[in-house]
Symmetry: C2
Subunit: 213 residues, 2 copies
């Protein structure tokens, strides 16, 4: 197909397509003449992935480039590829000491084995430190509740993972990135639902709207 069709199929402006080509996010089409190139279904899908990672997962284009590179050429070490690819996902905590005291305490409490060098470890430390600084440190009880729920979820994700090396990397990266927003949106809706159920029958005054938080 020609660019115009790619534009129409993906709903992405031509200028943006050209920008992605310039930035190396989108491979060039097969050149059929000096002013003509041929694009495929792969290009359509690639644009969809780029926009999903950008708009929904909030990745900066530089990171999307890294992620796509790993998906394209996973190499022979599946686990290294998974680590690289998922490590490229946001957020990106600035470097700090190798201490990670809060993260260490949390993960050990939950009985998980972990690798402190894995970027998620620094993310966890950063997030816990911020919650503490804002005056909302996690109670042990809350950590337990979160750990149980998240553990079940993660186990499902891993069990459902495909077996081929290339598809596993793609599944892990896109699944991690694209299902995070799903998770967060579900959480907010579940909050609303839980609040309604728990407060229904308690001291709700007539005319009041059900809680939304």
């Amino acid at each position: 197909m020609r660019v115009s069709e790619l534009v129409q199929r993906t709903g992405t402006p031509l200028a943006t397509i050209k920008y992605y080509l310039r930035e190396g996010l989108l491979p060039a089409g097969r050149s059929t003449a000096a002013t003509q190139a041929d694009y495929t279904e792969e290009h359509v899908r690639r644009v969809a992935v780029i926009r999903a990672l950008s708009e929904v997962a909030g990745l900066p284009l530089a990171k999307i480039r890294q992620v796509l590179a790993v998906i394209d050429v996973p190499g022979d070490d599946l686990f290294a590829a998974l680590g690289t690819a998922v490590g490229a996902l946001p957020p990106y905590p600035r470097e700090q000491g190798d201490d990670l005291p809060r993260a260490r305490a949390a993960v050990e409490r939950l009985g998980m084995r972990w690798d402190p060098d894995y970027p998620a470890a620094a993310q966890l430390e950063h997030a816990l430190a911020a919650a503490e600084a804002a005056g909302l440190p996690p109670t042990g009880e809350r950590l337990d509740a979160y750990g149980r729920a998240i553990g079940a979820l993660a186990e499902y994700d891993i069990r459902a993972m495909p077996h081929g090396a290339g598809s596993a990397v793609e599944y892990a990266v896109l699944g991690t990135a694209l299902y995070e927003p799903v998770l967060l949106a579900l959480r907010r809706i579940a909050h609303q639902d839980a609040a309604r159920r728990l407060l229904e029958g308690s001291a709700e005054r007539p005319g009041e709207r059900p809680p939304a938080g």
Copy 2:
């Protein structure tokens, strides 16, 4: 305390403090003279909250301003305040039809009562549409697994919510925003842990690093 101390206590540059004052995120100190003002512990905490919402939760300052305004003056309708405040949190899906077919199907499958006008509903629709466009539509099985886990989590959050109106809003907003990154980091660590457990004993070749996805 004087500005210099606020700078030192929060680790935030003076120029940035001034910027927050200009932008109305931080209330001015009590003016003691034309070139002197007095800041309190409240200011220290407020800066910590701003930075946590900005760096960890990724909120743009404009949204932080809205969130802080609701925390400061929750008004008399707790539920409206909760809705407004949590609705100000990212991501911000662009407007679309009132249809939300994917979100509706998902939420109904999970047996949750929901309000399609709540921003999280549009977020869910957007996230599911993106996953679908990228070639990873959710299976019913996955939705069930996510719903069970998230439902348990949300129920804990609501049960642990404080009862006063002002503190409930602050808890809901900061808890929603600040614990999202905690959740996501835990999920990635749990993935790693689950992958290790499930693959240990299976066809793992020696010398291979444990999975990181």
